[in-house]
Each structure stands twice: as structure tokens, then as C-alpha cells.
Symmetry: C2
């Protein structure tokens, strides 16, 4: 088994803490380790270092290498992308690398996973990986789904079809819904969040890519080196859009473990350990008095909160954010407005998703 870890995102969903220079995968959020380090350690439980492929943007190679060394994963392959072309070209290139450079056979199981999600406990995640490998051997593309516990508007959804093994056939993929739609999905019970984790064999992926995204497959025909060199000419498209939504050969497997993509401040609050007043103090000098349900985080100066409820306070180098919990999804829109207004200091205020 090879594991393709997507660590090239420059997303800013945790703005202002994450930005182009410090994307989420390099942040220490739960404890003193980066999310990427946690991801590497997680996969070292089921794979050898030399089975790991870490895809990242050229500018992050040194940071990735540092995390690889810290986690004792020397031997892992770091694949630099010369530019951002979203997940489909990046994964296709990594599969090409597996086949051509590492000499993987057609039937080799490949796992594709983001570098910045929480999955725990590891044992249950491994159990899910095992189930996925079974389906992958049956020439299916497996995508992991998470049963929604709230009408989340920040995730893509997967509508399930008939049962298949320990999962379901996929009926359809759904874009991030509005609140009304998300509530309906939740009530219906036949929609899962798309966790963005895939399992397939190398051969299955190659076949499906040729069918669903021939423009990408075509560029890989000339081999890994040529494809990497002309990476900038690849279409800028996600694996969901290019393959998952088009193939008929895909199944969804409910994740057996807890999953959190830390894709918003609200999501981060959920995952962190709270004190008796449901407050979370992360890093730095933080004083909260008469506060409840507050997540406070500082990169430098002391933060003092008095008499606050259900807020997220982030004192970062670039900006200070104070947002009511539950409204973190609005940050994206506010950043877009600021950019449109030509406001200064929106460095890192790129609103789109993590790119990969």
C-alpha cells in the first residue's frame, strides 16, 4: 500500500492563523505537533516511510522535510508541485510516480488523504482503511463518508445508493449546500459528508482517469518527468469534479472513526479539549474572566477576555479576528468583500478552499 498525502494546500479557512506562508497543515492546533506530523504518524501505523508520498507546493518542501524528519519518516517521498493545479492533476501525477518510479503493480492499493484532518482513534481509522482496501481490490474507487450530525454548509455531500460491502454505492455528489438543503440532507439520513479520503488500486485509478479526465490522462502518457515538467498546463480541477462525480465505479464507506477536517474555527473548537467553562486557550498568554464557550488563540501578544460567550478570538500576525461561534463560515465572504474593496492587509485572504 502507498499513501498519497496532500500537503500542498495554501488555504486560509483558519484565517488569520493560516495563510499562504503558513497553511493549515503546518499549524500546531491540537497540541505541539503540526497537523501534517499527526497525519504522517497516523499512516506510519500501517505503512513504511518509503510507502508515503507527500505532495506539496515547491515553496513548502523545506517545511515538509522538517516534519518528515521530526516524525522519523525519513525515506518518505516528497513530490514538489511547481504550481497549484488542484487535486486531480496532483494525484494523477503521484499515481504516475508510484507506477513508474516506485514500480508499483496495477493492483497496488493507494490511499489518498489530506494532511490536515483529525481522524481518531487511529485503530478505527485503520479498520476503515482495511475495509476500503477490500473494495479497492474489487476495482472500486472508495471515498470515505462521514455521517452528518449537524446541517453543515461547509462540506460537500455524498448521496448514498444501494448497500455495497460495508458501504454504499454512490448515487450522487452534492456541492456545498445552503442551510435549508443541508437541513434536508440531515433529516433524510441518506447523505454523508465527503471526507476527501480515497482508496483505489493504481490500475483502477488509471482506467477511471482515462475515461473521466482524458485531458489529464493524456498528459501522463509521456511519463512522469514530462508530466511534472508540463504540470502548469494541467487543468485546474479537483479529484471530486474530474473523477469522483463522473465515474460509475465509486462506493462510499462510512468512516468508523471520528473525523474533523478543522476546516473552520467552529470545527476546531469542536475538536479541542475544553475547560470547565467550555473555554479553550491555545498557545500564548491568555486570560479569560467570566467567559464561556470561548476559543482564544494568540501568536504573540497577551489576550484578555472579560464577560464573553461563544466567541472565537484569534490574535495573529496579520490580523485580529473576533467571530461568534457558529458564524465562522462567514469569514470567507468578509475576506472576499475586503479584497473587493481593495482593503490593505488582506494578505492570505484568499477565499477559496485549500486547493487540495
Amino acid at each position: 500500500m502507498k499513501v498519497i498525502i496532500l500537503a500542498g494546500g495554501g488555504g486560509t479557512r483558519l484565517y488569520p492563523l493560516s495563510n499562504e506562508a503558513h497553511p493549515k497543515q503546518f499549524l500546531c492546533l491540537e497540541d505541539e505537533e503540526t497537523l501534517l506530523a499527526h497525519t504522517i504518524r497516523r499512516f506510519l501505523g500501517v505503512a513504511r516511510p518509503e510507502d508515503l508520498l507527500i505532495l506539496t507546493n515547491e515553496r513548502y518542501v523545506a517545511q515538509v522535510r522538517a516534519e518528515v524528519e521530526k516524525t522519523g519518516a525519513q525515506g518518505a517521498h516528497i513530490l514538489p508541485e511547481p504550481c497549484r493545479r488542484n487535486t486531480a492533476p496532483a494525484i494523477a501525477l503521484a499515481v504516475c510516480y508510484c507506477r513508474e518510479v516506485l514500480g508499483c503493480p496495477e493492483e497496488e492499493t493507494l490511499v489518498v488523504a489530506p494532511s490536515d484532518a483529525v481522524l481518531r482513534p487511529a485503530a478505527l481509522f485503520y479498520q476503515s482503511l482495511h475495509q476500503a482496501a477490500v473494495a479497492a481490490r474489487r476495482k472500486k474507487i472508495v471515498v470515505f463518508g462521514v455521517r452528518p450530525d449537524r446541517p453543515e454548509t461547509g462540506y460537500g455531500y455524498i448521496e448514498i445508493g444501494k448497500p455495497y460491502g460495508s458501504g454504499y454505492l454512490v448515487r450522487s455528489f452534492k456541492e456545498k449546500p445552503d442551510l435549508e438543503t443541508a437541513k434536508r440532507y440531515l433529516a433524510q439520513g441518506n447523505h454523508y459528508w465527503n471526507a476527501g479520503i480515497f482508496t483505489f488500486t493504481a490500475g483502477t485509478f488509471e482506467r477511471e482517469l482515462a475515461i473521466c479526465a482524458p485531458e489529464i490522462a493524456g498528459r501522463l502518457a509521456r511519463g512522469y518527468r514530462a508530466a511534472a515538467a508540463s504540470f502548469a498546463q494541467m487543468p485546474d480541477v479537483s479529484i471530486d469534479y474530474a473523477v469522483a462525480e463522473k465515474t460509475r465505479n465509486i462506493v462510499v464507506l462510512p468512516l468508523a472513526c471520528y473525523w474533523n477536517d478543522l476546516g473552520s474555527w467552529d470545527a476546531l473548537y469542536d475538536v479541542l479539549e475544553k475547560d470547565e467553562e467550555s473555554n479553550v486557550r491555545r498557545a500564548g498568554d491568555i486570560t479569560l474572566t467570566g467567559c464561556r464557550g470561548v476559543l482564544a488563540l494568540t501568536q504573540g501578544k497577551p489576550v484578555i477576555g472579560i464577560g464573553l460567550e461563544d466567541l472565537v478570538i484569534v490574535e495573529a500576525e496579520d490580523a485580529l479576528l473576533v467571530v461568534r461561534r457558529g458564524r465562522a463560515q462567514e469569514i470567507k465572504e468578509v475576506l472576499a468583500q475586503r479584497r473587493a474593496a481593495g482593503t490593505a492587509a488582506t494578505r492570505g485572504g484568499k477565499e477559496e478552499d485549500d486547493g487540495e
Copy 2:
């Protein structure tokens, strides 16, 4: 008439914006002028520059001089204090300066006023000064009172006695009350806030000082220069405690104008102009979305607030403060706790009053 302006305070009631290095009188809060500049201009409406005496700590002399020049008050006397000894010694020394250096007669009217309060409109304030001068000529010490409109716990109170001229005899001074007591004062209607503005003749002050605070009066007997040189030996005591509370010769005059001492973030919010959502953005790059009743202020980095209600957000050099409006009085206590806990970065976290 001479005006003694108290500009030596190093208080931090507007922490973290105000601190030892940048006390409140040098902050621009309402507009682009410092509070001291506003105070100087206000008194230039009734006095010549050479009638102004500005008392300040040695370390602030350059800052005071800059404000004097900006307001065209060249000729004003800047009296540096070598150390902080609260208001009684400072005022006593200034009166001594008036008599000895400026040659004021016994019957000269002296006004003592803080440098960091809002008093408007000026015309009504001048009317109050005129009434005070009348009582001062009758050998009274006059203190200005403000009729409470809320059960404020941050001010000292004055209990009024029988009517006297356009004011009342003072029955007693009351320390800052607890909330219950403040509510009772408000309900009774016979308690005024102590605005800390005094009017008296030089002779009245000298007589009352000799009676009420002989240890201070004694040190002035050797003349201004000697008293200034031994200023550090003066007792550290306020004019309220040393004279106002002890003399029987004091009257309270209700201020005819609006008064706000800007002694807390709550007080500052009250005085500033709000937008349609009752928000106040002061200085810098501030984005408020879905917010109501928020005062946001930054000294540097952008501030983004989303979905907030009734908060004060202050992004200052030393610290970030987020406090629910109405609870700003708790800052003092929190700073004391932080200091007690030996927390770093409480620079400027001195909790006591402005000193003068």
C-alpha cells in the same frame, strides 16, 4: 483666574491603549486631537495661555510641550513633578507657584481640572465656571458634581446637603460604592458624581490646606523652590482625601454641561459617535459584519469582527482586550490578578487611579 491642569497621570483605565508610556491625556480618542489638547483649548476660551499651569510628570514634559504648541498656548506654564505624589501635593505646589512666582493675590480664583475629561458644550462649562467663581469669592472651595444617570461604581460620590447659591453644601464624600450602594444613591437622588474639578481662591486653599493637611502646608512654608526640591517627601495623598473630605468649607455645584471622564471603555463608548448599527470604529482598518453595539479600535493590524454584540475590542501594542460592554470596570481586577500571578506582559497594568 489661573487654571491648574492635572496632566501627570499615568493611569491605565483605558488599558491596553493607555499605559505608563502613553497615558490617557495623550491619546486621541474622540478625534485627531489628544484629550490634553482639547482641555487646553477649552480653557483658552476663558483664560490666556499664561494663565494656564500644566502639572505633569517629568517624563511627560516633552509631550505636554508639544500639545501646548499645537494648541497655540505658548506661554502656558509647564510644572514638572519629579515623582508621583498624587493630587494634593501637586495642587499645593501649583498654588504656591501661583502665589510666589506669578505673584497672584490671595483673592485670585484658581480652577483645578483634570486633563482628560470631556466637557461640552464649552459655553455651558464656562457658565458653571462663572457660578463657581462667585462661590469661590465667598471663600468656599467649590467642587463640581455630576447628576448620576446610572448606578456607576467607578466614581466617587458626593452627598449633598442644604442648597447654597446655585449648588449645595457638601454633607459627605463617598468612596467608589458597590453596585447595591450605587443603586441606592441613584434612587435617593441626593448623590452626585465627583468630577474632580475644583474652584477656590488662592487664600481659601492656603487656609484650608493649613487646617486639613498641615504636613503638606508645612513643606510649602519654605517657598516654591524648596518645596519642589523635596517633593518626594510629600505624602502620597489625593486632594479629595487631604482637603475636600475634611474641610467644612466646601460646596458642590452641579455641572451645567455634559461630563464624561472617559474613565473606562464603557464611558468612552458612550461619548463616541455611533453608526446605524451602534458600532464605533476608531482608527485603523476595522471590518465589522453583522455586529451591533461594538466599539473597535486598533493601533495597527486589521480587526475583523463577525456576528458580535455589545463588545469592546481593543487591539493595542501591548495586548488585545475583548470585553463585554458594561463590564469594563473588571479590567482593573483582572490586571491585578495577572500581576499577582506574575504573568508577563502586564506592562502598563498598574491598576490604581490616574494618580492625579
